[in-house]
Symmetry: C2
Subunit: 221 residues, 2 copies
């Protein structure tokens, strides 16, 4: 089932990026230009271009005359990425606290309410969506396009690992509490508090990520 034909270069790159992030293209899987071109209904040159960009982005590795593969992020790299994300998103939370307006406050609290509903209803997919929406909203408020772009790029490299953490028992409830504190500090315009709250949240995430990785090593699967 070939995906819808990509109209522009950017669309194609986005499609490939999502295919990797969603796991439709697996780590270390070879990305053969001719095949991809046929699958997406475009010319090889487009694929070549998209692969070059995804290479630059860190989602794909290319070796001369050997082709491209989906980059397999090692455990160490995953932690590196998560820590870097922590540093940037902490800053973003602080900036959001400085710039927050009344309508922003309303939007943040609305998403938080949605999250609580998902926790009560044990709707994990919905919770995950609301989670992403909240972080996106905070980024929008912070209005730091550079940082947002980088965070997006980092996230796409470790999305698959995130699911392992989200599905841990009791995680959503704890996560909700952490997010509530983030929202409240940002709404209060408390920059240092927002930074601390976001740092605490992502540190907690990082700790669980480490545990998940260690568990997988011991033969989880």
């Amino acid at each position: 089932m070939p995906p819808a034909r990509a109209s522009t270069q950017n669309d194609l790159t986005t499609q490939l990026r999502e295919a990797i992030a969603r796991g439709r293209l697996l780590p270390n899987e070879r990305l053969i230009e001719t095949d991809l071109a046929a699958t997406y209904g475009v010319n090889r040159a487009h694929i070549r271009m998209a692969l070059a960009m995804l290479d630059q982005e860190g989602l794909v590795v290319r070796e001369r005359n050997r082709g491209a593969r989906v980059r397999a992020v090692s455990d160490d790299e995953a932690l590196e990425i998560a820590e870097t994300r922590l540093a940037i998103e902490t800053m973003i939370a602080g900036q959001a606290a400085r710039r927050v307006t009344d309508s922003d406050r309303k939007a943040l609290r609305a998403i938080l309410t949605r999250m609580r509903g998902c926790v009560d209803g044990e709707d994990y997919a919905g919770f995950s969506d609301a989670n992403a929406a909240l972080h996106r909203e905070i980024q929008r408020i912070a209005a730091n396009a550079t940082a947002s772009r980088i965070v997006a790029s980092l996230k796409s490299q470790i999305v698959r690992l995130q699911y392992r953490v989200i599905l841990l028992p009791g995680r959503p409830a704890l996560s909700l509490a952490e997010h509530r504190r983030i929202v409240e500090t940002i709404c209060a315009g408390d920059r240092a508090g927002a930074e601390a709250a976001m740092r605490a949240h992502l540190t907690s995430f990082l700790r669980l990520l480490k545990q998940a990785i260690a568990a997988a090593h011991h033969g989880g699967f």
Copy 2:
């Protein structure tokens, strides 16, 4: 004077990146594929690829059917970039403090000595080099490739502005003191201290950057 022929795709991209960073290609300057191909002695396809990667990297903007231009970072963007860099490099300093070894300590102190020599001899170019070397060394010690890559990319977008700050009167001496504190805290394995020292250093840099931008606005030149 055409630069040496680029042997590989990566080399070409690097050459273009440096040409932009060094100011040989000015902001908003049109990057005409045919011309660049002739200049660098390669095919248009290579140029096209390199431009796509630099676009992804944020050094170049491309509009469909309109070609590519060197991206002009606005003042606001410059501050965004500097703040993001601050957040990441602060984290890097902390990681370096955790991982530092004896040989690392020696290397750090050697660079510091070099910096002091440049300050005494009023060798601004040398100071700038030593400065870069020190930051590179700290990144090497932190061993966070992801973060290092991002910082490099951010730096390349605002290198030109850095010169304005470095050349301010009294800046090198102050900068030296800041760097000394960074080195000492890292050598002591004092993570929080290293983070604080790096944050102080880059905050000081950021403040001067803001001043330089404001000054330029009032008609400096």
